[in-house]
Subunit: 228 residues, 2 copies
């Protein structure tokens, strides 16, 4: 267990990260905007995902491919009881604090999460319920968010959903148990980097390599920080 | 053929790169020195290599492991007729131009290359012959070095041996045909990055994924620059 201080009763649940990355290490491209929230070229990181039956089901859509990536995505999402995300993944910047015109995020009236989501933010706000997803806004940091997510997840796992800064904070704090990278054979040349500020104290062990159409899945156990 | 201008008679030979990289994209760690030419932590990128029988043979040593990585390294080196390397891979910085005390590089009297090596440098110098390796010093740039390496390699392949800056220059110029990354499950947190300055115009196609002890081998065909 890499994070005994924060485990308590839920020793069997894991903190998990899985994210698509370019071969040059970016999980979003440069120059993010309202039109291109994943930056220039960043959306192509997910080309392998959006064709899958498993992904389409989460969006309430029919059809889709059932290849090895489909099985892997199902496995990844099966045991997740709660998600933590950064403010930028929830929605684009607004002019000020929540208030007269509370922003409902990127995700529309039926978000694809279908579970409790905890959003790291600096602005306090009442929870936002959209269909079967509840967004809870947490202003007191990554440890507090993880405690609340664990409580919500019960025996199930907690997924750190991004973006890069949020994942990097949890990695740097030694709070992640499993990391799966979906390595896409493309370069972005700029943008948001996974592992920025994480450094060599984090120890990894390869669990699994899966080659699939348009992507290679590399799964690691994160063995906690070397100095622990 | 990604580089028709420079092919001429040797259409069947390839320009190849294979290099060990940390999961955070560094091929050497921070703070390189005479004692740690690969930077702090960088030598561990090659832990999977130095135990192999194929690697030990190149150093004139007996024994070693014959696992899947061993077969892969043999395949990588089998058809290489010449190598191009940067000045830093040949040897550490010296006080001035070649002259009274010509530096013989990092590699001792019996270098492990066993083939013609072309060293990119700013200082002209006579070729240096050490056992069955000839180092030729090229001062007129990467294209000139590649033409000379092709000439020396005949029908065999040319290997771009590093460091990062040299590889990145050849990638950015669209002169590489195949790229194999040996992804080591460790973070370096700083150092020399593969792909710096290369960018999204370079198109890649996954050829092969091989999981092996302590490393994952990802091989790509480089499809040339998108704007060509």
């Amino acid at each position: 267990m890499s994070s005994p201080l924060y485990r308590g009763l839920s020793d069997m649940s894991k903190v998990r990260v899985h994210i698509s990355t370019s071969l040059d290490g970016y999980v979003a491209g440069p120059n993010e905007s309202m039109e291109e929230p994943l930056g220039v070229g960043g959306e192509a990181l997910h080309d392998w995902t959006v064709v899958l039956k498993a992904w389409r089901e989460l969006q309430g859509m029919e059809g889709g491919e059932e290849n090895v990536s489909d099985a892997l995505v199902r496995e990844e999402t099966a045991n997740v009881g709660a998600e933590i995300m950064g403010r930028g993944k929830f929605g684009p910047p607004t002019r000020g604090p929540w208030g007269d015109d509370p922003w409902r995020g990127w995700w529309g009236d039926d978000p694809p999460f279908h579970k409790p989501v905890f959003v790291l933010t600096h602005h306090d706000r009442e929870p936002l319920i959209l269909s079967d997803t509840t967004f809870t806004f947490v202003t007191d940091g990554i440890h507090a968010a993880l405690e609340r997510a664990w409580e919500a997840a019960g025996d199930r796992d907690v997924f750190i959903g991004g973006g890069a800064e949020t994942i990097n904070q949890y990695l740097a704090a030694g709070l992640v148990d499993e990391l799966e990278l979906h390595v896409v054979p493309m370069l972005l040349g700029g943008g948001r980097r996974l592992f920025d500020g994480v450094g060599p104290d984090l120890k990894l062990e390869l669990l699994r390599t899966v080659a699939a159409p348009g992507v290679t899945h590399l799964k690691y156990r994160v063995r906690g920080l070397a100095h622990r």
